[in-house]
Amino acid sequence: MPELRDLYQEVILEHSKAPRNFKALEGANHKAEGYNPLCGDRFTVYLEMDGDKIREVGFQGAGCAISKASASMMTQSVKGKTKAEAEKIFAQFHELVTGHSQEHEGELGKLAVFSGVSEFPMRVKCATLAWHTLEAALEGKQEKISTE
């Protein structure tokens, strides 16, 4: 039986209450909006790209604890990374939360706290919303992305 504590780990709760980089970036040159129509979660991800590199990242919006914490920790993990590096982290993160593979759990560092999400399939979209939005921002897409 999945345990609540596996999902709501201290780090996750802490980030959901005090999200990092929770701001609109004035100098953003990439931006995307993500929306989960199922629960109404809505985030905007702002990127300040320096060529291929993410110099600054911020987000704003509202959502559940999982989606907010995931967005917060995402900003920490991709800051200073290149587009390709960020995309690789997302791919590994996606495998982890969907339960497909845990082989990159070590590489994911702090993000590994989201491994419990795989036991709660209904919550995978919460954990990945900000990441999908980041991906859209990196691609320079301006349209709103949706998890549905």
Binding site: M1, P2, L4, L7, Y8, L13, K17, L38, C39, G40, D41, R42, A62, G63, C64, A65, I66, F120, M122, R123, C126
Partner: protein, 422 residues
């Protein structure tokens, strides 16, 4: 006989436990389910109710011994199936007190019934510059079909507002009934808030201006006795699956004169009386609106569901649910951080709430871990969420088989949410 002698008899019948919730629970096999090691506490009845054994048996019996296409064959089974189907129509007629069985049209559900009216009556009567009036608490199913119609016709969708308790502002509603208003569409009971709308007054006000009213009764029929003639509703739609019946079957009631004048909805079998390549003559009511082979098993199940409700007694179900709702309102309202959304004086079955600092989706997961099924989200009523400036709510909704112990479990569950997020 003295009046005093009559009193004890009444008292005796009043104290007799005529509604035995434990007995009712035994009729619902799914309630024996364990969820994550806990007994299932099913409080998502506004989404869909569970089904009693009698309904499940009716579906099985239909396929085991009655299945044949209706209104066609001359053979034995076809005749049996046709008779059963038309008997079910009579059961539905009596259930909502319609005047004639020809006013009872079987649909896939409430949504299809509303679309039917919008696409037939609506398309025939709503033109450019005309208006359709709905209320601020409608389910998406009673917004979008009218929006589509208005877009097609260049008509305007008007919305009657509600107050902070979630009650319709009747005066504002009446002010919005204008010369260009061609149809009113309103929910009987709000799925997100539980508000019972003052339909009788609304319909009378619309009729005083010659405007017909379509009622979305999906959330009303399971919880309160509905009499379409007493309401004087022109159209009334409901779904089987929210009233202990199967999915995929619903009902549109319509007044004969309106239905007669309406063009058909879909073309196909059963809705025609003769076809040549030059011209088709449509079948008489209600078949004119029932194109294609209908959900015959679903109709059998719906009949069994109505028989179940009649056997238990809709008044008794209503009284039991009302007591539960009052109890839950007290218990939940007293929990720290809980804000009830929808506090109308007249309510049925639904308790919607938000919890300070915790998103409904997180609450839903934590409750689920304790075997408690609630709905979390916008309940297909996004404009209602916007009205209350919230993204979503937690919604507990009650049926005949719910108990006060389950309300207590919900309250314990919410305290657990507090512990996790402490």
């Amino acid at each position: 006989m003295s009046a005093a002698a009559a009193v004890p008899i009444r008292e005796k019948s009043a104290t007799k436990p005529s509604f035995d919730v434990e007995k009712i629970r035994e009729e619902f096999p799914i309630l024996r389910t364990k969820v994550h090691g806990h007994p299932l506490v099913y409080l998502d009845n506004a989404a869909t109710s569970q089904k009693p054994q009698a309904v499940i048996d009716a579906l099985v019996r239909y396929y085991e011994s009655e299945n044949a296409n209706i209104h066609r064959g001359v053979h034995y089974l076809s005749q049996i199936a046709t008779e059963a189907f038309e008997q079910a129509r009579e059961t539905v007629r009596a259930f909502v007190n319609a005047a004639h069985t020809s006013e009872i049209i079987f649909t896939r559900g409430t949504t299809e019934a509303i679309n039917l009216v919008a696409q037939t009556y609506g398309r025939a009567h709503v033109g450019a510059g005309d208006e359709v009036l709905i209320t601020a608490m409608e389910h998406h199913s009673n917004i979008v079909p009218w929006q589509m119609l208005c877009e097609e016709k260049g008509a305007k969708l008007r919305v009657a507002p509600m107050n902070d308790e979630g009650e319709l502002l009747l005066e504002e509603f009446e002010k919005l009934l204008g010369l260009r208003t061609k149809v009113v569409a309103a929910g009987h009971v709000s799925n997100a808030l539980g508000t019972i709308n003052p339909l009788k007054q609304m319909i009378a006000a619309a009729h005083a201006r010659g405007i017909p009213v379509m009622v979305d009764g999906a959330q009303a029929v399971p919880h309160i006795a509905v009499d379409v003639r007493a309401l004087d509703a022109d159209f009334y739609a409901f779904s089987g699956h929210k009233m202990y019946g199967p999915t995929g079957i619903g009902v549109l009631y319509g007044k004969t004169a309106l239905l007669e004048a309406m063009p058909p909805y879909q073309g196909g079998g059963d809705m025609i009386s003769s076809v040549t390549f030059e011209k088709t003559t449509y079948n008489k009511l209600p078949h004119k609106f029932e194109a294609g082979t209908p959900d015959m098993a679903g109709v059998a199940g719906l009949k069994a569901a109505i028989e179940f409700m009649n056997r238990v007694g809709i008044e008794k179900i209503a009284a039991h649910e009302h007591e539960l709702l009052e109890y839950a309102t007290g218990v939940m309202g007293a929990l720290p951080g809980v804000r009830l959304i929808g506090t109308a004086r007249e309510k049925a079955s639904v308790l919607s709430f938000v919890l300070e600092d915790v998103h409904p989706h997180d609450i839903g997961t934590i409750l689920d871990q304790q075997g408690i099924a609630v709905r979390t989200g916008h309940h297909c009523a996004q404009p209602v969420m916007e009205r209350f400036s919230i993204p979503a709510t937690v919604r507990a909704s009650f049926a005949a088989y719910n108990t006060k112990a389950e309300v207590d479990a919900l309250a314990r569950g919410i305290r657990k949410v507090g512990e996790v997020f402490a």
